[in-house]
């Protein structure tokens, strides 16, 4: 996991992009090729000339781009450990080296018609580094533009994740058993402490799935205290990769929704099914609960779920998917995130 300073929140945005993220890679490819087209446009004399220039340009550009992306992909963890300025320096140096090397190696190939000069070598390096600066600048800008969203999402998360309704009802329930079953009351208070510690923690770092499941179980134990037999849980975790890393409090709010909207309004209660499994490079979280449609009481639900969707987007960009399937009497949320393991 990257080391992140937690005192100053703004530092979160001053980090190199994750070069292994599909969204980031796609953006780089688009920006670089977009710039190439733009430059060719400014120089071309005719449409045929534009085509020519793009073709010749690509012969040099694509190998440089692909090599850089490949090296960045490999070096991602090392780069992330550097501080932000060093990171920039390293990336720019890398781009300069790659573009220079390819120009030297393939120089005759690209420029055979004109011949090759030292000036042209430097020209290639300067242009490549400039493009890299623009690209990194874009990512910095994007991170800054999104960072107020991060802050407000976190704030919203604190409000929406653990409902006041749950807090006060649970305290009331614990008080209700404190005289008759003091041991159980103790356990419940301990579970509550863990849950709130997590909710109030700095939630930027990923946690293991095992930890999140543990927390979710503690949460459900508290709900069971209040709801008794009305709440049944079906955990399907046989194929769960315990070491997978997920954003903290991703599962618990889904369950809280399921209880609040699915179980509580039902006199006879119902069963929540939680299925966690890995398939290839993806980690799947699936929460299914019975649901009775009554009027338009969906708003609170949407609010908490939107929050999760937003956090997924911030964390994984296009690599996460979030879908809801709801029918007349059920509600199902399915989340797919990339499977990441704890490395060091």
């Amino acid at each position: 996991m990257p080391k992140e300073r937690s005192i100053n929140q703004n530092n979160i945005s001053d980090a190199l992009p994750n070069f292994r993220n599909l969204g980031v890679v796609l953006r780089i490819v688009l920006i670089v090729n977009g710039l190439a087209i733009f430059v060719a446009m400014t120089q071309a004399a005719s449409i045929q000339d534009l085509g020519q220039r793009l073709l010749f340009g690509s012969a040099y550009l694509q190998p440089v781009l692909i090599s850089c992306l490949l090296i960045l992909y490999i070096l991602k963890d090392i780069l992330r450990r550097l501080d932000y300025r060093q990171g920039w320096g390293a990336v720019l140096l890398l781009v300069a080296a790659v573009s220079g090397t390819i120009a030297l190696l393939g120089g005759d190939l690209f420029e055979s018609s004109i011949g090759y000069s030292a000036f042209q070598l430097w020209q290639h390096i300067v242009v490549s580094v400039t493009v890299a600066v623009i690209t990194l600048g874009y990512f910095r800008f994007r991170a800054h533009a999104l960072s107020p969203a991060v802050a407000s999402a976190r704030l919203q998360a604190l409000q929406a994740r653990i409902r006041p309704h749950f807090l006060f009802n649970t305290i009331n329930a614990v008080l209700g058993i404190v005289r008759s079953d003091p041991k159980r009351a103790e356990g419940a208070l301990e579970d509550m402490a863990d849950l709130f510690r997590m909710a109030m923690a700095d939630n930027r770092e990923l946690v293991t799935l095992k930890r999140e499941v543990e927390l979710s179980r503690q949460y459900l134990a508290l709900e069971q205290l209040r709801l008794g037999d009305r709440l049944a849980i079906n955990w399907q975790t046989e194929e769960m990769p315990s070491d997978a890393l997920i954003p903290p409090l991703m599962l618990q709010p889904l369950l809280e929704n399921a209880v609040y909207h699915g179980i509580e309004p039902m006199h006879e209660g119902g069963e929540i099914t939680i299925k966690l499994y890995r398939s290839g490079k993806d980690m799947h979280l699936d929460v299914y609960n019975p649901y009775q449609t009554q009027g338009n009481k969906h708003s609170g639900n949407e609010m908490a779920l939107m929050n999760i969707r937003e956090r997924l987007l911030l964390q994984f960009d296009v690599e996460a998917s979030y879908s809801v399937d709801s029918g007349k009497d059920y509600y199902r949320v399915h989340i797919i995130i990339p499977y990441i393991r704890e490395e060091y």
């Binding site: 309704h165 009802n169 009331n172 329930a173 209700g176 058993i177 008794g228 509580e264 039902m266 009027g295």
Partner: protein, 254 residues
């Protein structure tokens, strides 16, 4: 007054067993200073109505958020009892309801419930008068899910979705379902407003369920030359006349 000497009869309604436990513990604590008896408890609104038509309670403590029938609807039905109890709502967190209570001086207890507050509420309840039904209705934007009908000392709940039409007749309103007919004492105007989503007025004295309209027929009365429109409802043999003023309904629904 000798009535004051009787212990206060208290009834508890909450869907969560530990929450009922908590109230019972606290009531036992109150009983040391304030003569009271717990006359019963219920886990939902329907059960509460059932028990409370058998046993009288002076005060009913009602949780607002409950499955099947929420606390506010339960209070509305209890208000129609011969001797309506004083109602004290309990809630964990519901800013909307709490504001509404404040504005209308309705007593409520916030969970976790404190002994002192409960004691105060019970003391006040001795001299309080029940809240009027209209005020309870204002507490929630949601219409009731049932109408409550008194039949031989029992309360019968008729789910709104089973009601085909409501017709004002003298003092009462006839509530018609496929199988039965009941009488209630409410105002048709208030019912029209509350259940606007389900019913439409076809006549000065009659509301019909929109979903149950099967068709429209032109009826010519024997002694009257002019024919008028009438509604046929699903599962009912009789036709309900539409007044001249409401004739636009025929176009809208057919």
């Amino acid at each position: 007054m000798s009535v004051v000497e009787l212990p206060l009869a208290v009834f508890v309604v909450d869907d969560e067993p530990p929450a009922r436990n908590r109230l019972k513990d606290l009531l036992a604590d109150c009983a040391e200073q304030l003569p009271l008896t717990l006359v019963g408890e219920a886990g939902n609104g329907v059960e509460a109505l059932d028990k409370l038509s058998e046993v009288h309670a002076d005060v009913v403590l009602i949780d607002i958020r409950m499955p099947q029938m929420d606390g506010i609807e339960l209070a509305q039905h209890l208000n129609k009892l011969h001797k309506p109890p004083i109602i004290v709502f309990t809630t964990a967190y519901d800013s909307y309801a709490v504001n509404a209570f404040e504005q209308r001086a309705i007593d409520y207890l916030l969970k976790p419930i404190r002994l002192g507050r409960l004691f105060e509420a019970l003391t006040r309840a001795r001299t309080a008068v029940p809240v009027r039904s209209e005020v309870l209705q204002e507490l929630t934007p949601e219409p009731r899910k049932n109408l409550s009908i008194h039949e031989r000392g029992k309360i019968v709940l008729v789910p709104i979705e089973q009601v085909l039409f409501l017709r004002a007749e003298l003092k009462y309103i006839t509530v018609r379902t496929v199988e039965n007919e009941y009488l209630i004492e409410e105002s048709l105007i208030a019912l029209e407003k509350e259940f606007a989503a389900r019913f439409i007025r076809i006549h000065r004295n009659c509301l019909v369920a929109k979903e149950e309209i099967e068709g429209f027929e032109k009826v010519a009365e024997t002694d009257n030359s002019e024919a008028h429109w009438a509604v046929r409802l699903k599962g009912l043999p009789e036709l309900l006349p539409i007044s001249r003023r409401q004739q636009f309904i025929v176009k809208e629904f057919s």
